[in-house]
């Protein structure tokens, strides 16, 4: 998965190396925090962060079991006809492209939404023109007090009302189009206060191969110690049951550890996984703790803003 703009990095699989400079500390949520002085700001930030750490009020929070072994999934056959006949269909597409090039040049289908917007723009221009002429006519009409003229003015006002109604309809259409295009996203949060023992780095690997390396630097460690929650990753994710691998590097010549968590992101919502770094001080994967919850867009609170 990739945010628009992650580009090449996302394509080669290694999405980002997360250091302190790129980890967003979720301590700058409210204007109060931004406006406070250093000390006062710290207090406010700490409170906000604590709320985030306690996080989801109202949402159903699930504890996620961390396993040593990658979850096995039964693969059912899909798109069988296509796979059995792909050579034939591919050949037909090549023939189609050649034929299309011969006839119309190389082109692709235009998204119907853009065509609809174009039509809407034309309608708006026409409506504006009509509105202008109606307003001019209205100005002239004001000078006339003849009853017949009044009836004509009433008819014009009715027409203006109709124009406003169609304008509102267009706005509804655009709103539906954009509101209907919410995306499913996943935010991975880090939390933990055992500052001296917290792992200083880890790698998150999702089922599709997207890899995120997280480095826990001194400043982040200090913030976590004060109760802050940090965002390690935020990306689009497919709304389906899937796993993620959490890998800790080995220290002082000892082997590292890898655990797997399974989760089901809810469609068109912001989904959160919170990793408890305190539980990850040992390489005993079974003891690692994680939580999962989700919330609809626009209902974020406690310092987590939905403006990403």
């Amino acid at each position: 998965m990739g945010h628009p703009g992650t580009g090449l990095a996302s394509r080669i699989g290694l999405k980002s190396i997360v250091t302190l400079s790129t980890v967003l500390l979720l301590v700058c949520g409210g204007p109060a925090a931004a406006e406070s002085g250093d000390d006062a700001g710290s207090t406010v930030r700490h409170q906000v962060a604590s709320e985030v750490a306690e996080a989801p009020r109202g949402e159903e929070v699930q504890s996620i079991e961390v396993r040593r072994v990658k979850p096995a999934k039964e693969k059912k056959p899909s798109l069988r006809f296509l796979k059995e006949n792909i050579a034939f269909l591919r050949g037909r597409i090549d023939g189609l492209e050649a034929s299309a090039r011969n006839r119309d040049g190389d082109s692709r289908g235009i998204d119907p939404r853009w065509l609809a917007y174009l039509e809407m723009t034309q309608e708006i221009e026409t409506a504006e023109e009509r509105l202008r002429s109606q307003t001019d006519a209205l100005e002239v009409g004001r000078l006339l007090d003849d009853i017949t003229e009044l009836a004509r003015i009433e008819a014009r006002l009715q027409e203006l009302e109709n124009l406003l109604a169609s304008e509102s309809e267009r706005l509804d259409q655009i709103q539906e189009d954009f509101v209907g295009r919410q995306r499913t996203t996943l935010v991975v949060l880090l939390q933990g206060q055992t500052t001296t023992k917290i792992p200083r780095g880890m790698t998150l690997v999702r089922e599709d191969g997207t890899e995120v390396r997280v480095t826990v630097g001194t400043a982040l460690l200090e913030a976590l110690g004060r109760g802050a929650t940090a965002q390690a990753d935020h990306d689009f994710v497919e709304p389906r049951e899937q796993w993620m691998a959490l890998s800790l590097p080995g220290q002082a010549g000892e082997p590292g550890a890898t655990g797997y968590i399974e989760f089901s992101p809810v469609r068109d919502q912001v989904n959160f996984i919170e990793l408890d770094l305190d539980s990850m001080v040992s390489t005993a994967v079974d003891a690692w703790q994680a939580r999962f919850w989700s919330r609809p867009y626009g209902e974020a609170e406690g310092g987590i803003s939905a403006t990403w």
Binding site: R80, I93, R108
Partner: protein, 197 residues
């Protein structure tokens, strides 16, 4: 006070109604259970679900192909539909198997397949199957003991001279005889071609 007096006929009608109600209640419960247990759906019902996943994979993902992943019933419904999306920016295709209202599986196609995107307003599988049955499908099945094998939706490909047309291709097969292909214009609902092969 006068006691209400019911005729024998009225009593018989009331008794019959009561028995019918009891029987109907008995029938309604199992029917509801069956309806709930039946997870099959038409092709259109899974598009939004597949699109939500595809848009998370690639912002420019476009639906280019779909087919049934499980046998299709007489109403043009199945337990899983397979939707294939293509991303021009990634130049890759990814398939989503959708059933029971969720994405059950997602896999990269693993080979290049950049078919043109399908039109947005295509006929649902239930309508397409009905048209195919009326045209030649029902006859083929009864004559050869055949069955519906696949329902495939994609743009052009079959009709190279109609590159903008999204078609349903309904394929019937029977042992010992060539398969029957019924091609339907997925927008107008007109059966454009049938052939055996």
């Amino acid at each position: 006070m006068a006691r209400p007096c019911f005729s024998r006929r009225t009593k018989a009608i009331v008794s019959t109604l009561a028995v019918s109600l009891v029987l109907t209640a008995g029938l309604i419960v199992p029917a509801a259970v069956v309806a709930e247990a039946n997870d099959s759906a038409s092709a259109r019902s899974g598009v939004e679900i597949a699109a939500a996943a595809a848009n998370a994979w690639a912002a420019d993902a476009q639906l280019i192909y779909l087919e049934n992943d499980e046998p299709v019933d007489a109403g043009g419904r199945t337990e899983r539909w397979g939707y294939l999306y293509y991303s021009p920016s990634l130049d890759r295709s990814r398939g989503y198997s959708v059933g029971r209202g969720k994405v059950l599986q997602a896999t990269d196609l693993g080979m290049r397949f950049d078919a043109p995107l399908v039109s947005g307003n295509w006929l649902d599988s239930s309508n397409a199957l009905q048209l195919a049955e009326e045209k030649a499908g029902a006859e083929f099945r009864s004559e050869h003991g055949g069955e519906l094998q696949s329902m495939v939706l994609m743009r052009s490909v079959i009709e190279l001279d109609e590159p903008d047309r999204t078609n349903w291709m309904v394929i019937y097969s029977a042992e010992g005889v060539p398969s029957l292909f019924v091609v339907i214009d997925a927008i107008s609902g007109k059966v454009s071609r049938t052939w055996r092969g």
